[in-house]
């Protein structure tokens, strides 16, 4: 069956490039590079092969022509030469080093990759109409930057070397240097090709995805976290259950005293911190929020100050506030904890409320202004009533968050049940830790249930 047997009138559009395809292409190129990287070749021959791989990739992207054509041959030759020279430049100072790799050394070594990148950029610029000449330098910088970062990240803590060691122990490679450079090379190729492709395609997905993948690899290496390890350690959950279960709710405060429900008093303290922090914070946030919304701010300066204050408070995590206040007014009492919770609440309420105010109906504000009301009269009579239900709902939500957050304040000596949690942990009393955790869990769940119930009724 033919659906359209009329003569085709309209020209079919060409299919736009698909990022997914190019991401696959880059991954393929990197994978193809691995065996060439680890072969026992000298650096120049290895670089020449990298150059050839780059050429094939560009060819597949349609950014250069077949080697049978003059211009394609020029591209191939220049890429191969640049790869050979570049990799030589990169390996030479590192191979000749006598100390650990310093940042100066990394910088010198990455010069080789810069050269290679510049030639890649030049090929792209030569073959694609409308490419910005800055591509030449930018692609060079991307290659060099990736090399520098990879060298630095790898050597700072020695992770690439430790990986190399592991690989050698498994008998896969003979030479640390070799494995190490393969890692750097792969990272550089990945990032460099991604940047190149993004110039070729003029899009950001390739670079974002590749950057994310490279960053993930880096992160996994840096903190020595492997997925395999995650699953192999999963069996330790049985140990966990052994130690934590059954929970032990009573213990003696000090040696010789009877076992009691010791956690009650700090538990109540935690709740008190949460209540005081939430209530105070929620009230203090109101003027801030109204000043930090375009609709209700009295003027640009106030807006800017309120907004920056809010952002600044929000940047600092709750526990940091706790320790700052504890350092200021003294460790051990619940007072700094309450102050920290106030900051925490102001930050969240400020953000939520100001965003809600941004979205209110501006009509009533205008109406109020037209009656000659002052600014804050207008805010109170026309803006505030519009956000009251949200305000109450957010308040409850913040109380919920406060209970959770105040639990941990004790860890840094800012009051509450966290202190006990820390203490029991240091005594390796895991069953008692579990008891505290269970109490917290039940409290949080109960408060959440109540708060959801109330919120449903208001909004």
């Amino acid at each position: 069956m033919t659906i359209a047997d009329d003569p085709i009138v309209t020209q079919r559009p060409t299919e736009p490039p698909r990022s997914a395809k190019y991401v696959l292409l880059i991954v393929a190129a990197v994978v193809v590079s691995i065996p060439f990287g680890v072969l026992d070749l000298d650096s120049a021959s290895r670089g020449a092969i990298y150059g050839a791989i780059a050429y094939v990739m560009l060819l597949m992207l349609g950014t250069t022509s077949q080697p049978t054509q003059r211009s394609g041959l020029i591209d191939l030759v220049s890429l191969v030469v640049a790869g050979a020279v570049g990799l030589k430049l990169y390996i030479a100072p590192i191979a000749a080093r006598t100390t650990v790799i310093t940042w100066r050394l990394s910088l010198r070594a990455s010069l080789g990759w810069f050269l290679f990148g510049v030639v890649v950029g030049w090929v792209v610029y030569r073959n694609r109409k409308g490419t910005n000449p800055s591509a030449i330098v930018l692609i060079g910088l991307a290659f060099a930057g990736a090399a520098f970062l990879a060298l630095q990240a790898g050597t700072d803590v020695g992770y690439l070397e430790s990986i190399s060691n592991r690989a050698i122990k498994r008998g896969e490679f003979q030479n640390i240097e070799q494995v190490f450079h393969v890692w750097v090379g792969l990272i550089v190729l990945g990032v460099g090709l991604a940047v190149t492709t993004s110039f070729v395609l003029g899009n950001a997905v390739v670079i974002s995805v590749t950057a994310a993948v490279v960053f993930t690899m880096l992160a996994f290496n840096k903190i020595q976290f492997s997925v395999f390890e995650m699953f192999s350690r999963a069996t330790q959950v049985t140990t966990l259950v052994d130690k934590l279960w059954p929970p032990d709710f009573t213990w003696s405060k000090s040696i010789g005293q009877p076992e009691t429900f010791v956690l009650w008093q700090p538990y109540v303290e935690t709740l008190r911190i949460a209540v005081v922090g939430a209530t105070t914070g929620v009230f203090l946030a109101v003027p801030l929020a109204f000043s930090a919304s375009r609709l209700t701010t009295p003027n640009a300066t106030v807006y800017w100050i309120a907004k920056s204050t809010m952002n600044l408070i929000r940047t600092i995590p709750d526990l940091f506030w706790g320790i700052l206040f504890a350092a200021a007014v003294g460790f051990g009492s619940p007072f700094p904890g309450a102050l920290a919770m106030i900051m925490f609440s102001v930050a969240i309420m400020g953000k939520l409320l100001s965003e809600t105010i941004d979205a209110i109906d501006p009509g009533p504000l205008e109406a109020a202004k037209s009656t000659g009301a002052s600014h804050w009269q207008m805010v109170k009579s026309a803006a505030f009533p519009q956000v009251v239900p949200h305000y109450v709902a957010y308040g409850l939500y913040i109380f919920e968050l406060n209970v959770r957050a105040s639990v941990i304040l004790g860890f840094i000596g800012a009051g509450g049940i966290g202190r006990l949690l820390d203490e029991r942990r240091n005594f390796f009393q895991w069953d008692q830790v579990m008891a505290i955790v269970l109490v917290i869990f039940v409290t949080v769940i109960l408060i959440e249930i109540v708060s959801i119930w109330v919120r449903r009724r208001i909004v």
Binding site: M1, T10, R18
Partner: protein, 255 residues
């Protein structure tokens, strides 16, 4: 061939939306279904591809019984029955091409389609379908950026890409302006004539029905009250279907 035999549809809440309908639609027919809002037009169409359950009687499409069909059988049946919706039901953020390719889902390898790797023949088919409805130049544009009429034509192309034997169109022009309505109706009519695809269309406007339809089916409160040639519809029959006389409101164009 589509065959209803004493079919009734009861919704889960107990509402009986279709009652004792018996009906035969032959291959290649162009049938218009009319009736008041709530008469059961949509229900009738959706019974054909098994979107609503027929609880009594039977409904048979090209030899496949809909009632009691297994999930795989139902999917096979649906792949032969294209559906066009009043609200287009396009994925707005996807390109036109990808929307049309969805018509191929039942035909292509599941794994390949998961990664968006469509065989060349399917792409060709999708482009042909777009050419058929005259918007191939929009193939790689996002569906949101199309006008309502264009979106509906994408919906038609999606149904065509299925290479269907039957097309069900549930008020395909209700969200469109008069001029566009005619374009879309003409497309549907031409597809029916050229490709011989059996077509069932729900319509609100009588003049559209008259202009494009051959056979008319009238529903009222879930019952079949008229089944015959559209040109035989007189005031009496109209009253049977709608319970009142014709008014200009029943026409797309007052002229």
């Amino acid at each position: 061939m589509i065959e209803f035999k004493n079919a009734s549809v009861v919704y889960p809440n107990g509402f009986k939306a279709l009652e004792d309908v018996s009906l035969t639609i032959n291959d290649g027919e162009f049938v218009v279904v009319v009736g008041l809002s709530g008469a059961g037009k949509s229900t009738l169409l959706r019974a054909i591809n098994g979107f609503v359950p027929v609880v009594e009687g039977s409904c048979n499409v090209n030899g496949q019984e809909v009632v009691g069909a297994k999930p795989a059988e139902l999917r096979a049946l649906r792949s032969d029955v294209g559906m066009i919706f009043q609200t287009f039901n396009l994925v707005n953020r996807s390109t036109v091409m990808n929307n049309v390719l969805m018509g191929r889902l039942a035909a292509v390898s599941r794994w390949k389609s998961m990664f968006g790797l469509w065989p060349a023949e399917d792409k060709e088919l999708a482009l042909r379908a777009l050419e058929r409805v005259g918007i191939v130049e929009k193939a790689y544009v996002r569906a949101t950026n199309l006008s309502g009429g264009q979106q509906q034509r994408v919906g038609i192309a999606r149904a065509l890409a299925q290479e269907p034997k039957v097309i069900l169109a549930d008020e395909p022009v209700a969200s469109l302006d008069p001029v566009t309505s005619h374009i879309v109706m003409r497309d549907l009519k031409k597809i029916n004539e050229d490709l011989g695809i059996t077509t069932l269309i729900n319509l609100h406007f009588l003049d559209l029905a008259r202009q494009y339809g051959q056979r008319l089916i009238g529903l009222r409160a879930g019952k079949l009250v008229y089944d015959g040639n559209i040109n035989d519809v007189n005031d009496e029959i109209f009253r049977q279907i709608y319970g009142r006389a014709i008014t200009p409101d029943d026409m797309l164009q007052d002229a």
